[in-house]
């Protein structure tokens, strides 16, 4: 039987919904503010997308992490339709966000791929793949083949989404690591959220150090994927690459850069110590810090050049949508637990 949602979570759901709706209204009223919604909704899409990749990996690389997190990841993949719904305003308002909808100079390949139709198709195919693969995994139907196929298809789709959603904000900038950065960001956001969900509900995990070790791995990947493209651009010093980084190093964006670097870098250093990897309380703090860092990073990638309204919308929409997700996820997890419980236990 589905449990009724406790009052604080119901309040978070309604409050978050109202906040997100207000942000959406602001997007309609203020031109250019919709980019803030894009940043917020990219973070929300990271939850089901990252959780699905993790659940596929759990199937092929079994171990303690799978035993601890499988149901939580499956619960998170149930957010896919809501994430897709939240993405609709972006597709509807492409003209308010992307320079290629106006008069930007495009290469031949960009003229083919940066069109509303292509953008909508990539987004739709990706959400459909997320839903279909997630459904098969939840139903435990041919999970091995699904996981193998999914782990080939999803990084490609994530790369395409990274190209259409974020890289195309500056058609002059090209980076072959952008898709990997996008994928790593999604995985880290999803894993940190999973940790928070797992550590907040039910019995504490038997071996938290395994989960702490995984978080450390993701943060090491982050350091590598963020530093190396910067270093390559810095070395070659080509105008387009330099312009992308310079726009993000000036003024407030330069300060934000140090903030998100610290919000991921300090947890990375803390996780080098076994005590931090083993402590549930420390892991909860680290997961929270990493999520805030990733949200700042996403704003730093997406919003330079859009002005204050976009930043305000990003903050409001992220806050609202995060509240909605925080309210929904425990209910989705209980639903998964009840679904997987043996029939006799239900009586």
């Amino acid at each position: 039987m589905p449990r009724p949602m406790p009052r604080p979570r119901m309040a978070a759901l309604v409050g978050g919904g109202v906040l997100a709706a207000a942000a959406l209204v602001a997007c309609v009223l203020v031109p250019g503010a919709l980019a803030g919604w894009l940043a917020a909704v990219t973070a929300v899409c990271a939850l089901p997308a990252g959780a699905l990749v993790l659940s596929l990996m759990m199937r092929l690389i079994p171990g303690v992490w799978g035993e601890e997190l499988r149901l939580s990841t499956e619960a998170m993949t149930l957010l896919t339709p809501w994430a897709a719904l939240a993405f609709v305003p972006v597709v509807a308002g492409l003209g308010a966000i992307y320079p290629w909808m106006r008069d930007a100079k495009l290469s031949a390949l960009q003229q083919l791929t940066l069109t509303p139709l292509c953008f909508a198709a990539v987004s739709a195919v990706r959400f459909a793949a997320l839903w279909a693969l997630g459904r098969r995994m939840r139903a435990r139907r041919r999970t091995r083949a699904t996981a193998a196929a999914g782990l080939v298809a999803l990084p490609l789709l994530a790369g395409l989404a990274a190209f259409e959603w974020l890289l195309s904000l500056d058609p002059g900038f090209a980076s072959s690591a952008f898709g990997l950065q996008f994928l790593e960001r999604e995985l880290t956001i999803a894993f940190a959220a999973l940790l928070l969900l797992r550590l907040s509900l039910g019995r504490p995990p038997a071996r938290p150090s395994v989960l702490g070790g995984l978080m450390l791995t993701l943060l090491l990947l982050w350091a590598y994927f963020e530093f190396l493209p910067f270093f390559i651009n810095w070395s070659s010093d080509e105008p387009d690459g330099a312009a992308w980084y310079l726009a993000r190093a000036r003024g407030g964006w330069g300060v934000l850069l140090w903030i998100w670097a610290a919000l991921s870098g300090v947890p990375l250093l803390a996780l080098l110590f076994a005590k931090a990897r083993n402590s549930v309380a420390a892991l909860r703090w680290i997961a929270g810090t990493v999520i805030v860092g990733k949200l700042c990073e996403l704003a730093w990638v997406t919003l330079p050049g859009f002005g204050i309204p976009a930043i305000a919308v990003d903050v409001a929409a992220t806050g609202g949508l995060a509240l909605v997700c925080a309210a929904l996820l425990p209910s989705l997890l209980y639903r998964r637990i009840e679904r997987r419980m043996p029939k006799e236990a239900n009586r």
């Binding site: 530093f227 910067f230 270093f231 810095w234 070395s235 010093d237």
Partner: protein, 178 residues
């Protein structure tokens, strides 16, 4: 056996689980210090033996920091000593220095860890009292040994009784190297 003083009392067990339980029981009985010899790493055994030495980790950390600092200092000194102006970049070009710093960080950490491991294990060492026990060779194949080391306050009779309670396959006296 011989007149030589005892180095350790060795209990022989058939599985990792047994030796783990034995280590816990011996610690509870207050016999120690303990050591164990197994053909493969047994999860939780180090904790059960009360092993809390972190010399290797500390040495790796210190080696890493020294390596990274030395890498940075080396590049700084080279560039200041022989200035090459490239593409208008500063002589002390921090992003470019990071790669060498990282490489030397890894090198320093690895050398620190390996060096500390050698010192802590007193290597290279050609002989060890445990080699006196003829069955000890099985420890690298299919047997699990728990050793009660004869230190100050070691009571042979008490340790022997506590070990016998755990029903090992054999109890072996290991003398000091003569």
């Amino acid at each position: 056996m011989s007149e030589r003083p005892l180095y350790a009392l060795l209990g022989e067990f058939g599985s990792g689980k047994e030796v783990l339980a034995a280590a816990k029981a011996m610690r509870r009985a207050g016999c120690g210090p303990l050591d164990a010899f197994t053909p493969f790493p047994v999860d939780g055994l180090a904790e059960a033996l009360g092993f809390s030495d972190c010399t290797v980790q500390t040495a790796a950390f210190v080696g890493g920091v020294v390596g990274a600092a030395a890498g940075f200092a080396m590049q700084m000194a080279t560039n200041l000593d022989f200035p090459l102006w490239i593409g208008g970049r500063p002589l002390i070009a921090v992003p470019a220095f990071m790669l060498i710093c990282f490489e030397l960080l890894v090198l320093g950490a690895v050398l620190g860890a390996i060096g500390a491991m050698f010192v802590a294990n007193r290597l290279p060492r050609l002989n060890h009292p445990m080699f006196e026990a003829p069955e000890f060779g099985l420890g690298s194949d299919r047997r699990f040994f728990l050793a009660v080391l004869a230190g100050p306050g070691f009571d042979r009779a008490r340790a022997g009784r506590a070990l016998a309670k755990l029903k090992p396959r054999a109890i072996i006296e290991v003398p000091e190297v003569g």
